[in-house]
Symmetry: C2
Subunit: 310 residues, 2 copies
C-alpha cells in the first residue's frame, strides 16, 4: 500500500503529563516524511515509535510557544551527530532562527547539513511547498501570537493508459503524454475518444489539515473543505468555552463544528489540557456533533486509504 | 526512613535512544530535591517517575553540551505555567542565561518566580551551596568544554542528648547546646565527662558524587574519597579507550578505577554511547575492577541507608 499516514507523537497542551508529550505529528506521504511541530521530546518519540527520522526533510512549526518548538534544537543537534547530509527545510516564524541563534551557533562546528529557513506568512494562505509528492499550504489561525495551520495535499499521480486501447486506436507515442495528463484523443478518422475510456481510474489525492492552537474560526471551513483528515486542537470541554476563547483555544465541540462545516472525512482532536485525566468527555462532546472523530493518543497512527475516483 | 536517594532520569550520551533519555539525576536528601543536569525530556521523566518537581529549588548544570541542558527551558516554562513561587537557584556556566536569553525573555510575562543564577568555577573546587540539609561542592572535570562535577554531602544532624545523663550529671540548660555540637562536659567537681557518654550515637552523613562528562582523571580520587555513591560516566568500553581520551570521555574500566582509588561505597555508571544495545559488557568491565558497580537504567532509584557511627 502506498502510504498517506499520520503518526501522532504528542497530544498534551502546554504542560506535558506522564502519558502525553507536547505537540508533534509526522505525516508519511508515499515514504516522504513531514514533521509538523516539534515539542520537547520529539526526537525521543520518533525513536520510540520507530520513525526513520533521517528521512524527514521538511519541518513545519506552527508558532513559537515552547510546547511546539522546544524539541527542535535537540533534533538539529542529533542530526549533526548522525552526520546528516540532506538539506533540512524549516517553515516557521522568521524569528525562530534568531531565538535559537546562540545555541545554533554552538552547533556550527559539527554541522554536516544545511538548514534552509522559510518564513511563514501569518496574514494569508500561501503555498509554501510543492513537489512531486505533495503540496503544502499554510494558513493563518487565530491565537495569542502569530500561528499557522498547514494543509497537505497529495499530488495526483499521472494517469495510466489502458494497454488494449492504445492498440485498438493505434495511439502514437507522441500523444501518450497528453492523455496521461488528461487529454482526449482524436483518431485519424476524426472520432473523439474520451480520456476516461483510455485511462485507468485514478486515485483520489489524499489530504490532511493541521489546525494547531487556535480559537474557533468557522471561516476555516473553506480552507479545510473535504479534507480526508482534519486535526484540530481541543484543549477544553464545552463548559470551558469562555476561558478557551479568552486564551485563543478551542473546545472539543468547536473542533467538531468545524469538521462538520468543512465536510471532512475524519476528525482527530488533541492538545488536551492537563486537567483531563482521560479524554472520553472531550471525545463524546465532539462525536455528538461530528461522529467520525477520534481522540489522539501518543503513538496513534491514522492511515488514509487510497480511493479510486472517476 | 529519612531518605538520601538518587533517581536516575536519563542514561544516554549525546544521542538519546528509544529507551534512554539524556542525562539528568534527582537527589532527594531528607525530602529536599536537587536536580543535576537537565537533558531534553527531563520534565517528562520527572512526571513519569512521580518526582514532585515543584520541590526542586536547586538545579545544577555540569556543562553546556545540549544533552545536559536542552530540557531546562521546558522545565522553566512549566514552572511558570504551574505558578511556581519559590526562588529557583541554578548553578551553571555563566554563559547559560545568555544562551537562553531570548527564550527566557519570552517567558518573562508569565514568570511567577525568580531564577537566581550562580556561575560555576571551572578552575578549582568550590562550595556552592551550604544549608541545613546539604553541602554541595563543585569540582572541575576534564572535558572538551568547561565542565564540573558535584559532590553532595548530607549535613550532620545535631547530636541527641541522653536524657538519663542530663539528670545524672545535673547538666544545666545553657550547656546543652554545646554538648549537642560535640563538646564534653565538666561537672562542678571538675570531672570531665566525654561527649560520647552524654549523647546518642550519630548517623554518618551520606554523600554522592556526580562525575559527568570527563576524561579519566585519577586525581579526582581525593575529591570523591569515601563517598557512599559515585556516579561516573562510562561512555565507552575498554577497546575504545583511545577514542574516549580523544574526545574527553571515559571507559567503564576507567570509571571503576576511579571508584577503587577513591574507596567509594558504590559505583553507578551511565552516559552510555548509543552503540551499546545492552550495557552488560560495560558493567562486566567495571565490575572486574570494582565489584560494587551497577549500570544505570532510566528510572533507577538508589537509596543510601543511614548508618550509625561513633
Amino acid at each position: 500500500m502506498i502510504p498517506f499516514e499520520l503518526t501522532i507523537l504528542g497530544t498534551s497542551s502546554a504542560l506535558p503529563t506522564s502519558s502525553r508529550y507536547p505537540t508533534a505529528h509526522v505525516l508519511n506521504v508515499r515514504e516522504r516524511f513531514f514533521l509538523i511541530d516539534c515539542g520537547e521530546g520529539t526526537q525521543i518519540q520518533l525513536r520510540k515509535l520507530g520513525v526513520r527520522f533521517s528521512r524527514i526533510n521538511h519541518l513545519f512549526i506552527s508558532h513559537l510557544h515552547g510546547d511546539h518548538y522546544y524539541g527542535l534544537i535537540g533534533l538539529l543537534s542529533s542530526y549533526a551527530l548522525l552526520e546528516r547530509k540532506n538539506d533540512l527545510h524549516i517553515y516557521a516564524h522568521s524569528e525562530l532562527p534568531e531565538l535559537l541563534e546562540k545555541q545554533l551557533y554552538l552547533l556550527k562546528n559539527d554541522q554536516t547539513y544545511n538548514i534552509i529557513w522559510h518564513p511563514l506568512n501569518f496574514k494569508r494562505p500561501q503555498t509554501i511547498l510543492e513537489n512531486k509528492t505533495v503540496k503544502v499550504v499554510s494558513f493563518p489561525l487565530k491565537h495569542r501570537i502569530p500561528c499557522c495551520g498547514f494543509l497537505f495535499t497529495e499530488q495526483p499521480e499521472p494517469k495510466n493508459l489502458i494497454r488494449e486501447k492504445i492498440k485498438e486506436y493505434n495511439i502514437p507515442i507522441r500523444e501518450m503524454q497528453n492523455i496521461k495528463q488528461g487529454a482526449d484523443f482524436v483518431t485519424d478518422e476524426g472520432k473523439k475518444i474520451k480520456n476516461e475510456e483510455l485511462t485507468h481510474a485514478q486515485k483520489k489525492p489524499r489530504s490532511y489539515a493541521f489546525c494547531s492552537d487556535t480559537a474557533f474560526l468557522p471561516k476555516l471551513k473553506d480552507t479545510i473543505k473535504n479534507v480526508d483528515l482534519l486535526y484540530h486542537e481541543a484543549t477544553y470541554d464545552k463548559r470551558m468555552e469562555k476561558r478557551a476563547g479568552e486564551i485563543f483555544h478551542s473546545t472539543a465541540n468547536q473542533a467538531a463544528q468545524l469538521a462538520k462545516l468543512g465536510n471532512v472525512g475524519q476528525l482527530v482532536i488533541g492538545h488536551f489540557s492537563a486537567r483531563y485525566k482521560d479524554t472520553s468527555q472531550l471525545l463524546n462532546e465532539a462525536k455528538a456533533v461530528f461522529e467520525n472523530t477520534v481522540a489522539a493518543e501518543d503513538g496513534m497512527v491514522i492511515s488514509i486509504p487510497r480511493e479510486t475516483v472517476r
